[in-house]
Amino acid sequence: MTAERVRSERSTLLLQLPLLIWLVVLWILLWGHITVVSVLSGIVLALGITRVFYLPPVELSGRFNVYWAAVFVVRFLLDLVRASFLVAWQAIDPRGIPTSAVLLVQLHTRSDFIMTLTAEAISLVPGSIVVEVDREHSRLYVHSLGVKDDAEVEQARRIILAAEERLVRALGTLDDVWHINQERRMNGRPEIRLSAKQKRYEDERERHGERTGDTP
């Protein structure tokens, strides 16, 4: 009993380790200098905060691709500046107020983490605001400013899905990548280059495809 409890406490501590490190780093950033006191007080505070304000642990995917994370960040910053100037222009455009649209975007991912990150990212980037989230079906309802016709609606949808794809490539689960590849194959686009691990997972998935059968 006690041994079990110790083990489970150790595993929660391990799960929370990224969060703890992040809290300590943030604390040091806020202090602006690294000293023994700031690091130690940061560790104590981080432990205290995670104990007092207990949240369910975030399920990370265990996958992290540095190259695609860099692609995402650079693309995100460029898009942020471009989208900002666009909205700024729409705000002062003398020709009047742009029309907009509320559209449904069916995401590929099944993970809350990627869905949250996508919602955050697209709120800043391609001129959209998340109006409603359907967590059960991984759907986002998005308000997109400056959309004039159906062609532009489809374009807005594509931009949002592309943002999701970049995030999945950076830190999605094997399953998320599989969903993206599935759709790429359907549309005749080249699939994401597979790592050995991903390849094994996808082969497994194909074999059990009928039995699990939760393809969108």
Binding site: L29, G32, A83, I97
Partner: protein, 126 residues
């Protein structure tokens, strides 16, 4: 021109850009017709404006501690602005504070209609 002068000029440009974007964000808040559109002005130009101002501050500051503190400022703005925009936008949609005549298409209202139909038929059955 010395390095300090070049940094001054760069800061000047970034500061002016940031100020312009923030001004445009303010104009957008006043000028856009409904809350959903206004939220666009409150997130994008606002965040990029802040980004430019922070770059200008970073270029001028001589201590690494100050520069390090700029990152959490930007990060938390980036994380919180979309959330608050989402909450306001969601509330606005639910209380019907929106200009439907400016919407090209509304796929959320289709989903709401469907859910209401399902609920109505479910209530009849029980």
């Amino acid at each position: 021109m010395s390095l300090a002068d070049a940094l001054d000029v760069a800061s000047l440009v970034f500061l002016a850009l940031g100020a312009l974007l923030s001004l445009a964000a303010g104009v957008g808040l006043a000028r856009f017709p409904d809350p959903l559109s206004r939220m666009h002005a409150a997130t994008k130009p606002q965040i990029a404006g802040l980004l430019f101002v922070l770059i200008a501050v970073g270029l001028q500051s001589e201590q690494w501690g100050t520069v390090a503190m700029l990152f959490p400022i930007l990060l938390f703005q980036m994380l919180t602005a979309p959330v608050s925009a989402h909450m306001v936008g969601r509330a606005a949609y639910r209380t019907k504070h929106l200009r439907r005549d400016l919407l090209v298409i509304d796929e959320l209202s289709d989903a709401v209609d469907r859910a209401q139909r399902e609920r109505a038929s479910g209530e009849k059955r029980t």
